[in-house]
């Protein structure tokens, strides 16, 4: 026998889930972790990560952070590698549309919360927006120092020489700093932080950003944050300064320059094109009449 709610409210069409899936106590716990993270920029706050109805690696950390901060009036945008229409983005957007009944959008400027996997949108963020990053491995020192006790001590005592050992190895092996994503940054001159696997192209966008930036790692059970208008400096050497990726040609669909491009393989004879990774940005530009060299073959109706 199942127990049914016979109260008058049950007459209305009610979701079987609590608002935004998580129970209120869990959301309070996550909010406390977020507050601590905001108070100590770049510091990894442990939290009691919950089992979510999706596998680890699909954004369980980001989803929990979003669930803790979302309200009924929020407008949610979810992107996966810059795209709004990939499986991960579509399913997380559908998840919150179903469990929280919030409005969703693909427009960066219309969203109040943007959950992202591995990109920061090209359109500048505003003070009214919060960006939530999905983080696989929050510890920037992990690959050089496997012991958690030791990395915590190193953060505590600000011993960050090891990060430069990794950059040194890059230069020794490749002649330049070959780390292209998850490029370590120093937040507010104190904590070294892994910005999640965003391309280093996006690192400068984190510096002095008006939007609140939250990071959630579900499997590793860590939350960290960059408050608005914080300094975020990418680490480098004096004689090998930090540089972002540069692209030779503009986007093949919308002719945008100064944006992050994805390579698209066109055939098995070496044909390829580079298009905007941020699909929303690309669509907006095309609507505004910008046309790239390959606009006809991009799959977009002409």
């Amino acid at each position: 026998m199942t127990i049914r709610d016979e109260s008058p409210a049950a007459d209305e069409k009610r979701s079987p889930y609590n608002f935004a899936y998580l129970d209120e106590q869990t959301k309070r716990m996550i909010r406390r972790a977020i507050l601590k993270a905001v108070a100590i920029p770049g510091y990894q706050v442990p939290f009691a990560s919950r089992e979510m109805p999706m596998p680890y690696g699909w954004g369980t950390g980001g989803v929990q952070v979003t669930a803790a901060i979302i309200g009924p009036d929020d407008v949610l945008k979810v992107i996966d590698q810059g795209a709004d229409d990939t499986t991960n983005a579509v399913s997380i957007r559908g998840f919150f549309a179903k469990t929280a009944g919030v409005a969703t959008t693909t427009r960066t400027t219309e969203a109040t919360i943007i959950q992202t996997r591995h990109r920061i949108p090209e359109a500048p963020l505003s003070e009214d927006q919060i960006i939530v990053f999905q983080v696989p491995i929050p510890e920037p020192l992990r690959f050089l120092e496997p012991r958690e006790t030791e990395t915590r001590t190193m953060h505590g005592l600000e011993e960050y020489g090891l990060v430069h050992v990794k950059l040194y190895e890059d230069i020794a092996r490749h002649g330049h700093i070959a780390t292209t994503y998850a490029y370590p940054v120093k937040v507010e001159g104190r904590y070294v932080m892994d910005p999640s696997p965003i391309p280093k192209f996006d690192n400068p966008k984190m510096d002095n950003s008006p939007a609140l930036q939250l990071f959630g790692a579900g499997r590793e059970k860590r939350i960290y944050a960059i408050p608005p208008y914080s300094s975020v400096k990418s680490l480098d050497f004096e004689d090998h300064p930090f540089e972002v990726q540069r692209f030779e040609a503009p986007c093949a669909l919308c002719a945008a320059t100064g944006v992050y491009l994805d390579e698209v393989i066109l055939d098995d004879r070496g044909g390829r094109m580079f298009v905007c990774s941020d699909t929303d940005n690309c669509e907006q530009r095309r609507e505004a009449g910008h046309t790239g060299t390959a606009a006809g073959i991009g799959g977009e109706s002409q």
Binding site: L144, T153, L157, E159, G161, L162, H164, V165, K166, Y168, E169, I171, A172, R173, D236, F237, E238, D239, H240
Partner: protein
């Protein structure tokens, strides 16, 4: 030369009711090499670990004369200060090089790590220093970008020494630095160590069960048995004229070829 670099008073380390080392008093003077000898289980390594602040002693205290001339007690310092001291003014050479090296990063980065840890942020200068040190420890410069896994045991040990000496420490702790190496490689390493210690004028504490190593490298030596220091003196005096029966036994048990 007026004050000892490191002074230990009543240093004791207990493992439960078992004794690691008991009531050891010693002084290390700038530029001198002290050997601690004894059989396995005599407390040599426990004593070394206590002296180098890697192990908290159960009783006793250790005083160290810092570079600025102030003498401070090691375990009264903050952990941050102690760790800073350990990676700048001290070196620690492990018996097994894999314990002291980062095996997955290149030789150059291994040597450069301490420089980067104290704030060096110029790739060119770090690399130049690393090259200089590889040369000093007789490792070919074209191996600078190879990782230590591809090195022989002797090369690894020399790399570990270079990695420790790059910040010009005033005191180096060595735990059986020649253990596990074959005899000819041992001889070369000893030659190298003797040269480096003399050139750099640093003090060293060497733990060894090999009396030949102690004879070659050290100025002064201490003999340990069951956690206690039973005899100490100038190396040549102890080895040529041992007083304690145990030391006599130890000296007489060296194989003569």
């Amino acid at each position: 030369m007026s004050a000892p670099l490191l002074t230990a008073e009543g240093l004791t380390r207990l493992y439960g009711t078992r004794i690691g080392c008991a009531a050891v008093d010693l002084q290390i003077w700038p530029g001198e090499v002290l050997a601690i000898v004894g059989e396995s289980g005599s407390g040599k390594t426990t004593l070394l670990n206590c002296l180098s602040a890697r192990l908290q002693p159960s009783a006793g205290r250790i005083l160290y004369a810092m570079r600025d001339g102030v003498t401070r007690e090691l375990f009264a310092m903050s952990e941050a200060e102690r760790r800073f001291l350990m990676r700048t003014d001290w070196g620690f050479v492990h018996q097994n090089p894999a314990d002291g090296l980062r095996m997955s990063v290149s030789a150059g980065a291994n040597v450069g790590e301490r420089l980067m840890a104290v704030g060096e942020r110029h790739y060119g200068r770090i690399r130049q220093t690393a090259e200089g040190w590889l040369e000093r420890v007789e490792i070919d410069i074209d191996r600078i970008d190879d990782d230590p896994r591809s090195f022989s045991g002797g090369m690894r040990q020399r790399l570990q020494i270079a990695r420790n000496l790059v910040t010009a420490p005033r005191l180096v702790f060595m735990d059986e630095p020649t253990g596990g190496l074959d005899v000819s490689v041992q001889a070369r390493l000893l030659d190298l160590l003797r040269g480096l210690v003399a050139d750099l004028g640093m003090a060293a504490v060497i733990v060894t069960h090999d009396l030949a190593v102690a004879r070659l490298l050290s100025d002064r030596m201490m003999v340990m048995k069951s956690g206690e220091v039973i005899e100490e003196g100038l190396t040549d005096r102890v080895l040529d004229d041992p007083r304690e029966p145990y030391t006599q036994l130890l000296v007489s048990s060296i194989l003569q070829v």
